[in-house]
Symmetry: C2
Subunit: 148 residues, 2 copies
Amino acid sequence: MSAVKDSKPDLEVVERLDRSGFRATPQRTHVYKTLRAKRDHPTAEEVFIRAKKDMPEISMATVYNCLDALVQSNLVRLVNHDKGATRYCSNMMKHHHFYCVECGGAFDIDAPSSVHEPLIKLPTGFKADRYEIAFRGLCPDCAAKKKR
Amino acid sequence: MSAVKDSKPDLEVVERLDRSGFRATPQRTHVYKTLRAKRDHPTAEEVFIRAKKDMPEISMATVYNCLDALVQSNLVRLVNHDKGATRYCSNMMKHHHFYCVECGGAFDIDAPSSVHEPLIKLPTGFKADRYEIAFRGLCPDCAAKKKR
DNA sequence: CTAGGTGCAAAAGGTTTGCGGTTAA
DNA sequence: TTAACCGCAAACCTTTTGCACCTAG
């Protein structure tokens, strides 16, 4: 009922791509799966390297194309660190990010489902449909090292 | 109220640069003043163009160098839009940003001085010394256009 | 059949670096 | 004097684009 490389591509994904006007190609679903396989924030190149393991013929351009389609389909988010290449995140749950100023790492911070209140009142006219908090400071590891 | 080129370079700036181990060179103070002159979020190239008006011999590399020194001295912040070049912001008051998904513009959102509370509890070990909220949605102009 | 997608290679940004010359402590 | 800094140009890295071929609808 399923092949080695073509395991069922998750209806949700197919549907979302379709709703945004994209075909659910093997490359796109594979890039998505690659991203889901690990809970970190890889760069496009990192994704490319990982995706090639199971799909050696995929190209960098296609990875960019796929990531773009996935972002537009709301299956993946962009995450910008302060420097360097754009990173991608397949965790679409409401969450925030913590950036360690020491080691440069980025960590997901879950948003409490209860309190996502209009913490800040926006000036009249602005219509926000989402927000994300970027914390900066020391991650547990670096904080521990620093203390000594 | 502005001078030709060498108006006194603001003690605060000199001191901050110095405290971070940078000399307060004419280029650095000029780039800083350039950034302060307008309340937007220019790219490095934009800064370069503006800075050249009053300092024609300044180079792109120097602008990058200066911006870097200013960021490290806490006189300027990096602002990343979703796409494109890094942008810079000389508004160091506690504030957040609103990104318009329609026109791509970025707007400063003042943080109420009263409530800058730890609205989200971080997992144990994380030591945040600051945070910034990125709102996304429609700016007043685009919201108005959309309504029609 | 044909619009959309892929892979490749080349191009286009954006940022950094190496280096000779200059300047401030 | 000398370490820091400047301007220039080349290098580098990330992302986009043009194009020939391919494939699903």
